[in-house]
Symmetry: C2
């Protein structure tokens, strides 16, 4: 894998990283000074930050460096898009063990470039920081331009609205299930060779987990199309729908026929999901699809209806058809992580 | 120390943290949605990001949680102030081991509040992320308002300019030296009880290292006062002066009498520094003083002259009097960190 960070040093590593990073059209002053300067034409900016840590958030035996860059970009871009904002720029703070090959950092940089290029052309990296650490970690902060519009929050859903989604549901969760089932050694440790076989056999599901591509470009059309509330599905459809319901003081009903359609599409994509398909659709996290509510009428292109907002303000909840859906789903790193890395 | 993160969980921990965080006047939409929204009245924002990791960047035996919050805020605020911008907001991504007491995170939140309150009133935390990790780490991204002015970069110094500084020189480096000398057990491991004794005996120097207070408010007056270049002294006076010199294509001469005055002030503050004083002034890092160049004439209040910019564009360098200063100083986490924590 070539020389390590300890051998190459901070300054030289940064010199190799910078030319690979994507340029941001909004960059007024780029890396190299104490701060960067970014354009915010409407006098405001949207900002979100998200941290990926080796162990709880990814396994090096499963994710390539390029995967990590793509995912770090995408998860943050989704949080910008979910406000109805156009992503403009990222800053990236990265810490890695001293024996990390410099090539790993270059692979992450390439993944950031390709993630931005695929999902948010014109968005790029305007600054960063590099540090040493016992574990590889990537902290991305992303910025967006609201272009004069009000931000689309979680709290604007109203009874009678349609609930709609853009992007995949269940794929990333199914990919993670396959990796935990088949991408491990006999003792349960993540295993690179086995994960490679899983990925070859189930490319869409595993890629959705390790290097998701989210329809970031649909965030702005959603806002323009009258979205009353929006968030990205990071922890599972039901859990994130419940967040929207609670913030808006309404209940949300998922249409059983629509859920069934999603589940059948997942089975058609990869029969390996079998009868778990509906459960992945409802409770699988990390797809980062955009979940939004719209007034009655045609939906913006790319969104499909999966339910409705109901007037049950006393006890906001999520129903599938007439049945409240109690299972929580989602991911609490403080409850769910055993301390294992791999 | 009370319950741990694993016992309390992510959601409840966030609920306890949020009310302690400082409010930002520039906050248009605060925590709780996919992104925050921050005001950027002149259509631009300055942004910087900096990572502090347990081990290479701090020792838990030396720094209290409150210290960490103050330092994380201050190092980032200094990078904003050094552009001539007024700090407006922070986002904070924090990762900690599962067995970390929740009180540690609350202490960090209090330190962020007090750091902002002391150095940049009106600046606050608008968002964040919480994750699990094998090592405690804090990634802060800070924003600033240039209020219509051009950013003060590192590259604008011109021959004939005065070199001036606002804030401490050498204190943080001297504090670190004392901690490494006396704040350790017999085997060299950082030791909390001994560090407490060092701090009681040398309060100014140790506080300058662990919880620095930087004259953030002097960044804007420096810009208004005509600063041609500016940066914060994070890695030592000579090393950062050299960065300014290289970026500006000039050389920088430090005035031996001014350096001597700084060294004598350091000895007067704490005689323990002894004959190392000049070396701390020249090469001690982490004071985060503002180092700026100004055209001839009166300096803005709070700045003191320590040298001049020379016309030696062929080979930018830093001289002390007539003598080139070769020692590098500074801190490369990939070369300087042994992997020890403590």
């Amino acid at each position: 894998m070539g020389p390590t960070l300890a051998e190459v040093g901070e300054g030289e590593t940064l010199k190799r990283i910078f030319p690979r990073l994507p340029h941001a059209d909004a960059e007024l002053l780029g890396p190299g000074d104490d701060s960067a300067v970014v354009a915010a034409p409407d006098g405001r900016f949207a900002v979100t930050t998200d941290l990926m840590v080796h162990g709880p958030d990814f396994r090096s035996a499963w994710s390539s460096a390029h995967d990590l860059g793509v995912k770090a970009a995408m998860t943050n871009l989704a949080d910008v898009a979910a406000m109805g904002a156009r992503p403009t720029a990222l800053v990236v703070a990265l810490a890695a063990p001293l024996d990390t090959p410099v090539d790993v950092l270059l692979g992450i940089a390439d993944g950031l470039r390709d993630g931005c290029g695929l999902a948010a052309p014109g968005c790029g990296v305007v600054g960063g920081d590099l540090s040493a650490s016992p574990a590889l970690m990537i902290a991305v902060t992303a910025f967006g331009d609201l272009e004069g519009r009000a931000p689309v929050t979680r709290s604007g859903a109203r009874p009678g609205d349609q609930l709609a989604v853009a992007g995949d549901l269940g794929r990333a969760g199914a990919g993670l299930w396959l990796l935990f089932r088949d991408g491990v050694a006999a003792d349960g440790t993540p295993d690179a060779a086995r994960a490679g076989e899983v990925r070859a056999a189930h490319p869409e599901l595993v890629a959705a987990q390790l290097a998701p591509v989210v329809p970031i470009a649909l965030g702005v059309p959603a806002a323009l199309g009258g979205a009353t509330a929006m968030l990205d599905v990071s922890d599972g459809l039901v859990l994130d729908a419940r967040r929207l319901a609670v913030a808006s003081g309404c209940s949300v009903e998922l249409d059983p026929a629509a859920v069934d359609l999603e589940a059948r599409a997942l089975v058609a994509l990869d029969p390996a999901v079998g009868d778990r398909a509906a459960s992945f659709v409802l409770a699988g996290g990390e797809d980062h699809a955009l979940l939004a509510t719209f007034p009655p009428g045609p939906l913006p292109e790319g969104f499909r209806r999966i339910g409705a907002v109901l007037d049950r303000s006393a006890a906001p909840e999520v129903l599938v058809g007439a049945t409240p859906y109690a299972e929580l789903g989602g991911w609490d790193p403080y409850a769910g992580w055993t301390g294992a890395a791999g």
